[in-house]
Symmetry: C2
Subunit: 201 residues, 2 copies
């Protein structure tokens, strides 16, 4: 049993509710219920819904953004790095299935705010591009540009989780396990798909 301090309980509940419902759809009452405390306590700890939401956004970005970068900047050979980053990222997202659609919604709802948080996280997307550019110059891969390559990789990892509720119904008769298996396959197959597309021929 975790009788943690109230602030942590609130934050945990707020993350769950905001990420599932979006900022506008989330109700302070629902957060209070989930945290098993009173609504007034939310305001005691975080002043306002806006402030609470901002904390959630920051923690969420700080949690999910750096994962890609750290794998990309490791010392493995490039192809193994792709295999690892794809597998790790799909794993991370499938354990947090509401994150992708939540973030995409937020990206469109408040792009400047989100970009500012991203900057504060210290992620260096330019370093990722440099790494890719180096491979390109060594002629080990055949791609149009680091930007195209990078967004292709993100697309293939993120979209299948973001669209899961519809895809599971449309492609697998809403069979939960079938889609779980599908995602499991993608942890390896996605990287192979990418590698085949970028190998020099």
């Amino acid at each position: 049993m975790k009788e943690k301090n109230t602030e942590a309980k609130i934050l945990e509940a707020a993350k769950a509710v905001f990420i599932e419902k979006g900022k506008d759809g989330a109700k302070m009452q629902a957060i209070a219920d989930k945290a098993k405390i009173n609504k007034a306590l939310l305001h005691y700890y975080f002043r306002s819904k806006d402030k609470l939401f901002n904390v959630v956004i920051e923690e969420t970005m700080f949690h999910f953004l750096p994962k890609v970068e750290e794998t990309f900047l490791s010392d493995d050979n490039f192809f193994d790095k792709i295999r690892k980053v794809v597998s790790d990222y799909i794993s991370l997202l499938s354990e947090n299935p509401f994150i992708p659609a939540f973030m995409l919604h937020e990206i469109n709802r408040n792009p400047d705010g989100l970009f500012n948080v991203m900057m504060k996280s210290g992620i260096r997307i330019d370093l990722i591009f440099t790494t890719i550019q180096k491979e390109l110059q060594n002629n080990t891969i055949n791609i149009v540009s680091p930007q195209h390559f990078f967004i292709n990789l993100l697309s293939l990892c993120i979209f299948p989780i973001a669209a899961r509720p519809l895809m599971q119904r449309a492609m697998f008769f809403n069979d939960q396990k079938a889609y779980d298996d599908f995602i499991e396959e993608r942890k390896t197959q996605t990287a192979e798909f990418i590698l085949k597309a970028i190998k020099v021929s």
Copy 2:
């Protein structure tokens, strides 16, 4: 000047506001303002926000869903079909940039409702899979399954538009034209990426 009937004006305004703000973020007042009519008229024509939103969802799905199917079921050779479907779909989405994130949000907010609407649209995703399966059996392509292939294609078309506001800032210093050009390149490059990945080697 289009002095169309009021119902059409409302629907047009409602589409714009709902798709940009999401169901929860949209305000009836904003819709009325955009339609240049009074708030009460919204209820006169559509009874409630829920009802109005449902109409918007249906019209939106009926507009965007069939495009993929019709290209896929044409008589072109498979590789040309991919080139065409990718180019057409990216074009359609980039002209309606809020649609992808809106739909992904809605997919997670109300999956059953959305799936029911999708069923009503009469789209036959199974026919698409059959088409792909046939190519697979003819050994003209090398893929894991029609499902993986199809979701890969959707991912590569949809995600770069859905995540545009952040990607434009992170990758192109928020240069609007640079990202427009990027999307323009993707209309051809995405198909070539896919084709290289699936061609038998």
